[in-house]
């Protein structure tokens, strides 16, 4: 009992700090990747090859003045960035990041907790992210913020349906909602082999969920200044970015768990395999951002509703058909 509590607290602390550090250093990685894609060097001044850049940025933003525009709804204005961060950090509590290990004769699963409705919990928490954007955009009392917030909300809810439906195929094959169970089912073959279409839909829909290029219509710099976070400054501004980058880590971890066999892999320790797979998926997201131009808004909506949604429904029917008749 006591052992269980201590183990849980240690795991939570490790995951929490790890996730925050990963989110901070992802800003540096993104700048480095962007620089390399555009044939530049990227940040180099703070520390060796800019290794201290995220810390410098964090300290700078922490000590900046916190400006709240006149006429802003104060409570909602502060609540917005908080809601952008909190669900992203909490989601990681159900993702298994390693094989169970034995300490002092107790088996400790390397997962904060194995909830029997793991996937539903993840979907519930990630869909809360839309509130951060909407509240921030609404409470700022500016035209650009409002337009950015509304656009982003419409985009996020449109792609959320495809996102949810793309996972149904996985659940049909695995026969459970628990993530530990789903990883266990993939010991022989990864689910990406059975669900290639589901994988592609999830990848596209999650990019749209996180408002990243090519789906960053809510913060289109050319027309909306910065979209929903135009009026934000100081730590509240930083929180939108912590939220976005934590969301990237979490989504990569979800893809790894659902489609790429989780922590399973030969030779190397499971935790290392998990980190390798997550890093590779993160690199795909970064690669998207610096390769594709932004979509037009009507293209974005019709792609989501007229292509991705029917495709994900067809994926479910085909999966059911194959499972029943062909095997």
């Amino acid at each position: 009992m006591l052992f269980w509590i201590i183990a849980e607290i240690i795991k939570i602390l490790v995951v929490f700090t790890g996730l925050l550090l990963a989110a901070a250093y992802l800003t540096l990685l993104e700048r480095k990747v962007a620089a390399r894609i555009q044939n530049r060097l990227g940040p180099r001044e703070a520390g060796w090859h800019g290794i201290l850049q995220p810390i410098a940025d964090g300290i700078k933003l922490f000590f900046k003045e916190d400006i709240m525009p006149s006429g802003a709804n104060k409570a909602l204005f502060i609540l917005g960035p908080m809601i952008a961060v909190i669900p992203a950090l909490t989601t990681f509590s159900v993702i298994p990041f390693g094989a169970p290990i034995t300490i002092f004769g107790h088996a400790v699963p390397l997962q904060i907790t194995d909830v029997n409705i793991g996937i539903l919990l993840i979907l519930a928490f990630t869909s809360l992210g839309v509130y951060g954007v909407v509240l921030g955009g609404w409470a700022s009392n500016g035209k650009y913020s409002l337009l950015g917030g509304i656009r982003t909300a419409a985009q996020m809810v449109s792609y959320e349906i495809s996102l949810v439906l793309s996972i149904v195929g996985i659940i049909m094959i695995a026969g459970a909602l628990s993530l530990a169970h789903i990883v266990g089912e993939q010991s022989h073959i990864w689910f990406i082999v059975y669900q290639p279409v589901g994988f592609v839909i999830y990848l596209i829909a999650s990019t749209a969920e996180m408002n990243r290029v090519p789906f960053d219509l809510g913060e289109a710099e050319g027309e909306l200044v910065a979209g929903f976070h135009t009026e934000y400054s100081s730590m509240e501004f930083a929180f939108y970015f912590i939220g976005e980058y934590a969301q990237i880590v979490v989504n990569s971890a979800i893809i790894t768990t659902l489609f790429l066999g989780g922590w399973q892999g030969p030779f190397l320790p499971p935790v290392i395999w998990f980190l390798i797979k997550v890093s590779l998926v993160i690199l795909i997201y970064l690669w998207f951002r610096w390769t594709y131009p932004r979509l037009r808004y009507d293209e974005l909506m019709s792609f989501g509703w007229k292509f991705l949604l029917p495709l994900s429904l067809a994926n479910i029917v085909v999966t059911g058909f194959v499972m029943l008749f062909i095997r």
């Binding site: 909190i86 904060i112 009392n141 409002l146 909300a153 809810v157 959320e160 949810v164 730590m235 929180f239």
Partner: protein, 117 residues
């Protein structure tokens, strides 16, 4: 032990982190009052008109469609979990359900609910 308890602890940790960081930054950060700074950003020009402008009815339609389809998507989850054991019966049942869903989508499509100009 209840397996949801750690999720709650994690949630409390996240909330504490968010509140403490923003609160501390608000206290420590420098303050200087100047009325021009507090205006909503409008490219340096005096803000004109209401900040809460009217927006297109299309966004409202999208919200309604989302509600409909998300609830229908949720119905698929319990079915998907036990699909292995349902056999042909389960397949036909859910195929009918998905066909109804698709007919709904086609209706919205033909009525022009998905057109953005």
């Amino acid at each position: 032990m209840n397996s949801f308890l750690p999720v709650l602890i994690m949630l409390i940790f996240s909330i504490l982190f968010a509140v403490l960081t923003i609160g501390l930054s608000n206290i420590i950060g420098k303050k200087s009052y100047e009325p021009g700074k507090l205006k909503p950003f409008e490219c340096g020009v005096e803000p004109t008109g209401e900040p809460h402008i009217r927006f297109d009815i299309k966004f409202y339609l999208v919200a309604i469609f989302f509600l409909l389809f998300d609830i229908e998507a949720l119905f698929l989850f319990p079915w998907a979990v036990i699909y292995r054991w349902l056999g042909l019966f389960g397949f036909i049942e859910m195929f009918t359900f998905i066909v109804v869903l698709v007919v709904g989508l086609l209706y919205i499509w033909k009525k022009g609910g998905l057109i953005w100009e």
